[in-house]
């Protein structure tokens, strides 16, 4: 029976808002803008975070990269200079990790260089050639679709063999099976032994314009004096990172107390760093939106006070026929909440449209994604504001004496 009463005051709230359409709309504009901002900013940021997460996770989940340089942002100039002075990371470290590692099995150097590949009269520019070991496909969870990946012997005997990415295959072998064929990398001949499965794009760049060759062969191009990355597959729940640290500190002769002169990076850490940065931005946006919502709330309070004084007679009649103070309070509170929720609803629609627009303008790089919790938060905000700023006018209405309310002209 009580819910029947709630339904009734809900209904009468909607009626009285309908009776004052323009006024209600103008009143709720502050709320609309606030909620639109919340929804818009949250959706764009969460879409962007999703995009970054899927992009970086292509580097491989559970993969640690040992490098001279740390991944990420926000380093000071001094820190950067110090890092530049670090000793290069070389094959020595990779071999030590492979030999001494107990919590991890798969280790591969990752030496990258962009080079030109040729096949007869066809060529592929700027192919990312990656010098790697036989473990690399397991570490990054990438498989061949045809042929085989690099083998231990390929590494040992510094063979001139390569595994091609799909883009390279498309460029050099549009119509034939490349396995067993010869290609030229920077003028040197390599035999094609396999083709990698297609991987798609990361940060808008194709991940398939690539070729893998034994890292031992790679040093023929790069020389040995170059800082390399080392990829390690870290199994779930093991202290791989700690072990890598200790092995590297040993190899690099660091004394106790000395700082690490290498970085252990992971896509997870990078993603979380990125998320942290965007979260700060998110907080600022929410703070701005909150100000707009408070301003909107004051507007609501103002219009509710006007409404109470305009409807003093009605309040008197309702009281005369038996409405209790609490029921009058409930009615006006409901009205203010309904106006606010209506504003919230409009704001969500506009915010979602804004997000869609941004998504379209970014050519789908920022996916259209409205997080459910941003909608819940938006409505929650509106409800709270409706109650908070509606309470004073509603209380004022409920406290009117019936006789005075009826006499009101």
């Amino acid at each position: 029976m009580f819910s029947g009463f709630l339904l009734e005051i809900l209904r009468s709230s909607v009626e009285s808002i309908k009776a004052n359409k323009l006024r209600s709309f103008l009143t709720t504009l502050g709320i609309v803008i606030g909620v639109m901002t919340v929804i818009g900013v949250m959706s764009v940021i969460s879409g962007f975070q999703k995009y970054i997460a899927t992009s970086f996770s292509q580097l491989g989940a559970n993969v640690l990269y040992v490098s001279k340089y740390p991944w990420g942002f926000g380093m000071s100039r001094e820190e950067w200079k110090k890092i530049q002075r670090r000793e290069d990371i070389g094959l020595k470290e990779a071999e030590a990790l492979k030999e001494y590692g107990t919590s991890f099995k798969y280790v591969s150097p990752s030496i990258l260089r962009n080079m030109k590949m040729e096949k007869d009269d066809k060529e592929a520019e700027d192919v990312q050639i990656e010098g790697a070991s036989e473990d690399f496909s397991r570490i990054t969870n990438r498989e061949v679709s045809l042929g085989r990946f690099l083998s231990k012997d390929d590494i040992k005997y510094m063979r001139h063999v390569c595994v091609l990415g799909q883009d390279v295959v498309n460029a050099l072998f549009p119509e034939e099976n490349p396995i067993g064929k010869k290609v030229k990398i920077q003028g040197r001949q390599f035999s094609v032994i396999g083709i990698m499965k297609e991987k798609g794009k990361m940060m808008g760049q194709s991940m398939d314009n690539t070729a893998f060759i034994p890292y031992t062969t790679m040093t023929a191009f790069t020389g040995k004096r170059i800082s390399i990355n080392i990829a390690v597959y870290a199994e779930e729940g093991k202290e791989t990172e700690e072990e890598i640290r200790w092995i590297l500190r040993g190899v690099r002769d660091l004394k106790p107390g000395e700082e690490d002169d290498f970085s252990i990076n992971s896509s997870e850490a990078l993603i979380s760093q990125f998320n942290q940065m965007t979260s700060t931005f998110l907080m600022i946006s929410i703070a701005i939106a909150a100000i707009s919502l408070v301003v909107g709330g004051i507007g609501i309070m103002n219009i509710m006070l006007v409404s109470v004084s305009e409807r003093t007679r009605e309040i008197g009649v309702r009281k005369a026929i038996g409405a209790k103070s609490g029921e009058i309070l409930g009615q006006f509170l409901m009205e203010s909440v309904v106006i606010c929720l209506f504003g919230g609803f409009l704001g969500i629609i506009l915010g979602a449209s804004l997000t869609k627009l941004i998504s379209l303008m970014s050519n789908g790089n920022v996916p259209f994604h409205i997080p459910i919790w941003s909608i819940i938060l938006g409505f929650g905000f509106c409800f709270t504001i409706g109650v908070f700023f509606g309470y004073y006018p509603a209380r004022k209405a409920s406290k009117l004496s019936p006789v005075e309310a009826l006499r009101y002209e």
């Binding site: 029947g4 009734e8 009285s16 009649v317 026929i321 038996g322 209790k324 103070s325 609490g326």
Partner: protein
């Protein structure tokens, strides 16, 4: 017949700026169930104040007021609201209908606060409107109705919770004499059916309808009661 209303030494004092207005100066009134009472007197005599106190819209400054044997003068706002809801129906000079809702909804308003289920509310509102001759005006808005019709809607609203007492404050004040007569006929009918009717008016032909008259002057009842 039992005593429905019993007031003893009721006073009402309003603050008015620095001074006070003594609207009622010790009123004794007894009304039995089923009576048809006219409260009459010149303006400023305190009849509106007396009506408000009888109707539990206001409380006395001093004195006692027993309604159906219960001491109303000690009750708080919510208890008074309950009394108004269950036992009293008001009819006002200016009708006081909600302008944006149809006649039937105006009539169903008191039932909302009495927690009557929605479907039943409408059904009952229609029945009551038919009983006051407005069966064909159920869905009309107040501004689509004549003054007499509006007052009949207001009577229907006063009857919604089947109160024992109907209090009418100058019910014909905004109507011509023909429409006024119609309203008084309806009130007489209700009296016949056993309702206790209290009319407040300064118009003689209205007051004449009452089976018993209470004259007020300067906040006191003239004559014996």
């Amino acid at each position: 017949m039992s005593e429905l209303i019993k007031m003893r030494d009721v006073t009402k004092v309003y603050p008015l700026g620095q001074t006070e207005v003594h609207a009622l100066r010790g009123v004794n009134v007894s009304i039995k169930k089923g009576e048809f009472i006219s409260i009459i007197g010149p303006s400023g005599s305190g009849k509106s104040t007396l009506m408000h106190i009888i109707g539990c819209l206001d409380v006395a400054t001093s004195g006692t007021y027993f309604l159906r044997g219960k001491d109303v003068s000690k009750m708080d706002g919510n208890q008074l609201a309950d009394i108004r809801k269950e036992f009293i129906g008001f009819i006002f000079q200016d009708f006081y209908l909600l302008p944006d809702v149809p006649a039937w909804y105006n009539v169903s308003l008191p039932m909302i606060y009495n927690r009557v289920a929605p479907k039943e509310r409408k059904k009952k509102a229609v029945v009551i409107l038919e009983s006051v001759g407005l069966g064909d005006r159920v869905n009309h808005l107040p501004n689509q109705l004549s003054g007499g019709e509006r007052q009949r809607v207001a009577i229907a609203r006063a009857l919604a919770n089947e109160p024992e007492i109907i209090i009418a404050d100058e019910p014909t004040g905004n109507l011509d004499s023909v429409r006024g007569e119609e309203i008084l006929e309806i009130l007489s009918d209700l009296h016949e059916k056993g309702k206790t009717i209290i009319i407040v008016s300064h118009e003689k032909y209205v007051a004449e309808r009452g089976k018993r008259k209470i004259y007020l002057k300067d906040g006191r009842v003239e004559g014996k009661n």
